[in-house]
């Protein structure tokens, strides 16, 4: 089975287009880079070449949606979310048009292309848009399930993916949970909320914690917006301390969103693992995760800090 985000997207788009002739894929000159050739061969009339012009791509997608199509934009996060952000805000989000954005290359996991291509703030900006669903997939089965689910639902949606290599987490996903979060591990000592490419690293950290006798809950929050606040509050209440982990700035991303929920409904000690107000650089994903503090041992250390801050020990 393929372990690549890119191949998973192509498979999922082929499946969606087979069921739904209104699907129209747009990509800013990265269809080959994203290995969409199999889609292009099978559905040439459901693909639009837009060249290197992201602003017009988003505006055209809005026009297509207004006349009944389901446009699906596919490209690198930096260039399909952040570069045309104003267009997304004003002609997709504001009129609540049925445009889908699938963004690969999100976060430091981009690796060697460096900081200009590492979108470490896309969750923050996209979750500010009223009515936009903001999703992140951690592996191949979840990518396929979320692409299919987002195309099936009506309304604007953003799906965040890694660059290429996807570490398997799920064996298969029959249907996407309506809750928008999956409990991958259950424990009473610390609640770890994570999303996207950090999920397998958090599972590795939780296994290490288990060997120390610390029972962590691990919740994959694949729907950052809307977020299932009840699941966040219930695990925070039960564990009395929280860790968040994401390949994104700790400000504004999953960690920020969790803090917004908890400060209102269940004030708790929260330790956030993520990128800290700095840009990335070139390097392998592994080297970047080590340098910027996104490894299983960083998650484990954060869990220890969170537990030490628990009120009443």
């Amino acid at each position: 089975m393929s372990s690549s985000f890119r191949d998973a997207v192509c498979d999922a788009l082929i499946a969606s287009a087979s069921d739904n002739p209104s699907v129209m894929v747009l990509s800013p000159d990265v269809a080959r880079a994203l290995r969409l050739e199999r889609f292009l061969e099978r559905f040439p009339n459901q693909y639009v070449s837009v060249g290197i012009s992201e602003a017009n791509m988003v505006g055209s997608a809005a026009g297509l949606a207004s006349v009944g199509y389901t446009p699906v934009i596919v490209g690198f996060s930096m260039f399909v979310a952040e570069k045309p952000f104003e267009q997304i805000r004003n002609v997709v989000a504001y009129p609540n048009l049925n445009v889908k954005i699938i963004a690969t290359h999100s976060g430091l996991c981009v690796g060697q292309d460096g900081a200009t291509h590492q979108a470490t703030e896309d969750i923050a900006v996209m979750r500010m848009l009223p009515g936009f669903r903001v999703l992140a997939a951690c592996d191949v089965p979840q990518t396929k399930a979320l692409v299919s689910d987002m195309v099936r639902r009506t309304g604007p949606a953003y799906l965040r993916l890694g660059r290429d290599k996807a570490i398997p987490v799920y064996s298969e996903i029959g249907s996407v949970s309506e809750r928008g979060a999956d409990v991958l591990r259950d424990g009473d000592d610390v609640a770890v909320f994570t999303t996207g490419t950090m999920v397998p690293y958090v599972l590795e950290a939780s296994a290490a914690l288990e060997r120390e006798g610390i029972h962590a809950s691990v919740v994959n929050v694949f729907s950052i917006k809307p977020m299932d606040e009840d699941i966040v509050v219930s695990f925070a209440r039960r564990c009395r301390c929280v860790v968040t982990a994401e390949d994104h700035f700790i400000a504004g991303g999953l960690g920020g969103a969790i803090c917004e929920v908890l400060c209102a409904r269940c004030p708790s000690p929260v330790e956030r693992v993520g990128v800290r107000d700095t840009f990335g650089e070139s390097g392998s994903q592994d080297d970047l995760y080590i340098k910027y503090g996104l490894t299983p041992s960083d998650v484990r250390d954060a869990a220890h800090r969170a537990i030490s801050r628990r009120v009443g020990g």
């Binding site: 639009v48 012009s53 791509m57 026009g63 297509l64 207004s66 006349v67 267009q87 004003n90």
Partner: protein
């Protein structure tokens, strides 16, 4: 459906009283963009009375032609036309324009106002949306036509030229654009703020079928619109020479009235001129 042909005299009369509505509307709301709304009025009248196929009784009719006012700040002109055609009442428009809880936003919101086909206001993106509609019609064989009005200042936007490339590449001959060449933008004359050079030549070099038109000659605009829709293989653009503030002598070519609200004396003088 397309309206029965309107005589040139009736069309000119319509354009004149719709200009009155625009001035009244902006004076009543104490905000809005007069100069550009007056400069596009003849283009809108030419389009909406005898060319575009729309049905006020069925604003969401899927087979209707589409129109995108890419220079969305001139919404008062479009609102006046749509009210006159019966998409909503003139009274509702005058009560609501730019006021709280109204369907008549300062810039077009197609989810709120019947008769609009796209939201606009951020310059450049309206033309892209029009391209998407035209591509959709071409791919599905739906057969409707797409029209858009773009400001000459708006062509400073890079997105306009992205859209120009896109429409030519995809041979969107079901798309016709009118450029409102009033020669002025927010900060002054376009040649001083950002000189675009030979506008016709620019569009021609991007692969469009170009027609130079007197933007205040209703007959010429209608003839050019019909001619553009009939030509195959290329999108069409009308380079419409217009006068900002057209119809009110002291507003014509006066940059002050790009965004200024007339005083009571100016309002009364304008009403006299447009009577």
């Amino acid at each position: 459906m397309r309206d029965a042909p309107v005589s040139l005299r009736d069309l000119e009369r319509k354009a004149r009283y719709l200009r009155r509505w625009v001035v009244e509307l902006i004076y009543a709301a104490k905000s809005g963009h007069l100069g550009g709304s007056l400069s596009i009025m003849d283009m809108l009248a030419a389009l909406y009375y005898g060319v575009i196929r729309v049905d006020p009784a069925r604003p969401d009719w899927p087979g209707r032609d589409r129109f995108v006012l890419s220079k969305g700040h001139t919404a008062p002109a479009l609102y006046a036309v749509l009210a006159d055609k019966g998409f909503f009442s003139k009274e509702d428009l005058f009560d609501g324009y730019r006021r709280i809880n109204s369907i008549f936003q300062g810039h077009p919101d197609f989810k709120k106002t019947p008769g609009l086909d796209m939201s606009a206001g951020s310059l450049g993106v309206g033309l892209s949306a029009a391209c998407g509609m035209a591509l959709g019609a071409a791919r599905s064989g739906a057969g409707f036509l797409v029209y858009s009005i773009v400001g000459d200042g708006e062509t400073n936007e890079g997105e306009i030229w992205e859209a120009a490339m896109f429409a030519a590449h995809h041979r969107l001959d079901n798309l016709t654009v009118m450029i409102d060449m009033n020669g002025m933008q927010n900060d002054g004359p376009t040649r001083d703020v950002m000189d675009m050079g030979d506008m016709s030549e620019k569009w021609r070099s991007f692969g469009w079928s170009v027609r130079d038109v007197d933007g205040h000659s209703l007959a010429d605009i209608q003839a050019a619109l019909r001619d553009a829709s009939a030509s195959r293989g290329r999108p069409g653009v009308l380079i419409c020479r217009t006068i900002k503030g057209k119809g009110v002598s002291f507003m014509e070519n006066n940059i002050h009235f790009h965004g200024a609200v007339p005083t009571r004396q100016e309002y009364e003088a304008a009403m006299r001129e447009l009577s």
